[in-house]
């Protein structure tokens, strides 16, 4: 076999192997994430984000209009700061509201945007003021139990 052909194939093999490792580290293991299309960043503050993850979808009327870019914690207000990368093709009024929703009973969590009525549009760096927290099942059950207990007391009287 020709020497240079063999060298070429070994080179291709080594490059492909290293590329596969790089793919595993970057794309699968998320060592660094890259963005592609034109986006603008919007910030939302939540009291509780539940199980929201970075890169979870942002949906409006069921259509994916962006992704969660970053999740941080503000130690002054004790709130979660969620940065959304919105697709540049979609614009929303500046008084739109955001809430954390769950796909199905046990599914992944995503952010739902409901458009407001303002004529001014959200720009990069703006903050969405109206935010509704994730539903925490334990709190819900707790509320249900206390209301049941109160009902029971009322009935026995």
């Amino acid at each position: 076999m020709n020497r240079s052909i063999m060298d070429l194939w070994v080179g291709v093999f080594a490059a492909a192997g290293l590329l596969a490792l790089l793919f595993l580290a970057l794309k699968v293991g998320n060592l660094a994430s890259f963005s592609t299309s034109q986006t603008y960043a919007v910030e939302v503050r939540f009291g509780n984000i539940g199980g929201l993850k970075v890169r979870a979808p942002v949906k409006s009327a069921g259509v994916v209009v962006g992704r969660v870019a970053r999740i941080g914690f503000d130690s002054d207000s004790y709130k979660a700061v969620v940065t959304l990368n919105m697709d540049g093709a979609y614009r929303f009024p500046s008084d739109s509201s955001a809430k954390i929703l769950t796909a199905g009973l046990l599914g992944e969590q995503y952010i739902g945007i409901e458009a407001g009525g303002d004529s001014a549009m959200l720009k990069g760096g703006d903050r969405i003021r109206l935010a509704q927290d994730a539903v925490v099942l334990e709190n819900l059950i707790g509320q249900f139990m206390t209301s049941q207990a109160a009902n029971g007391k009322g009935a026995s009287k």
């Binding site: 194939w9 093999f13 492909a16 998320n30 970075v54 979870a56 994916v64 046990l106």
Partner: protein
């Protein structure tokens, strides 16, 4: 009484033989490591073996990786949809491929595709007295023939395992996202949230390095130790595939026990 004694004697004989062979294999391994200088200085010798062990295994590794990923996606979707969490398919795919299936299945394929070829080649060289001829010419056959084959295989194996995992995830992506229609962002984001570079990917690479060394060691030793007959070479080739497959599975259990249990792992 006599029968019992004969039985224990035969047992002892077998154990002695095994210990002797293991000792010979270990001495052979260290002698080969000490005489690997030629394989590294004249890297073209090793390059040739990377071509035969690695490049020629690419097709089987990539094709089986893609199909394993595709089947995993179909089966995983079938179960996950009952719980309404089909987006977790990415986690299922990435963790099972990177942690286990990548190194183990690639190792098993490598053992049967490349390991058997190494054994057969060395065994045949011995049977046709090429190795003895080299010794006559004062060329060390271990440095010239064995070490390049060992290093060529040991270098190829981690690259093949990484390619297998990447092909598997690609196959799962094809089925899960393109065919079934799971949300692409959730597929990747849940995968990235669950896969840890240090804990999962690096541990998978460590596994594949260990498997590569084990398979190549067994392959070159069986070839070198083969009786110089047609029957001996065929027996040695079979033993390579059987022993290295069992070694991969046993080592995988030991490594997994060390890596993924007991506190924060490796």
């Amino acid at each position: 009484m006599q029968a019992l004694r004969a039985f224990i004697e035969s047992l002892g004989h077998r154990v002695n033989g095994m210990v002797l062979r293991l000792g010979f294999a270990s001495r052979f391994f260290f002698y080969m490591l000490l005489h690997s200088g030629t394989a590294m200085r004249r890297f073209r010798l090793t390059l040739r073996e990377i071509y035969f062990a690695g490049v020629l295994s690419l097709i089987i590794i990539l094709v089986s990786g893609t199909f394993v990923g595709m089947v995993l996606a179909l089966q995983g979707y079938e179960t996950l949809q009952r719980f309404g969490s089909t987006e977790a398919l990415g986690i299922l795919l990435a963790l099972s491929l990177v942690r286990e299936l990548g190194p183990v299945v690639a190792g098993l394929l490598f053992a049967s595709r490349a390991g058997s070829a190494i054994t057969a080649e060395i065994g045949l060289m011995k049977a046709t007295e090429q190795i003895a001829a080299m010794e006559m010419m004062a060329v060390d056959p271990i440095a010239r023939v064995i070490a390049p084959r060992f290093w060529g295989g040991a270098i190829s194996m981690p690259l093949l395992a990484a390619l297998f995992s990447a092909a598997g995830i690609f196959g799962g992506y094809l089925i899960g996202v393109q065919l079934i229609g799971i949300d692409e962002g959730a597929f990747w984001s849940q995968m990235q949230a669950a896969v840890d570079v240090r804990k999962d990917i690096v541990n998978g690479v460590i596994k594949s390095v260990v498997f590569g060394i084990a398979v190549c060691w067994i392959a070159v030793f069986e070839g070198y130790d083969a009786p110089p007959t047609a029957e001996g070479v065929s027996g040695a080739t079979t033993r390579t595939v059987v022993t290295s497959s069992l070694a991969i599975l046993a080592l995988d259990f030991v490594l997994t026990a060390f890596m993924f249990t007991g506190g924060n792992g490796l």
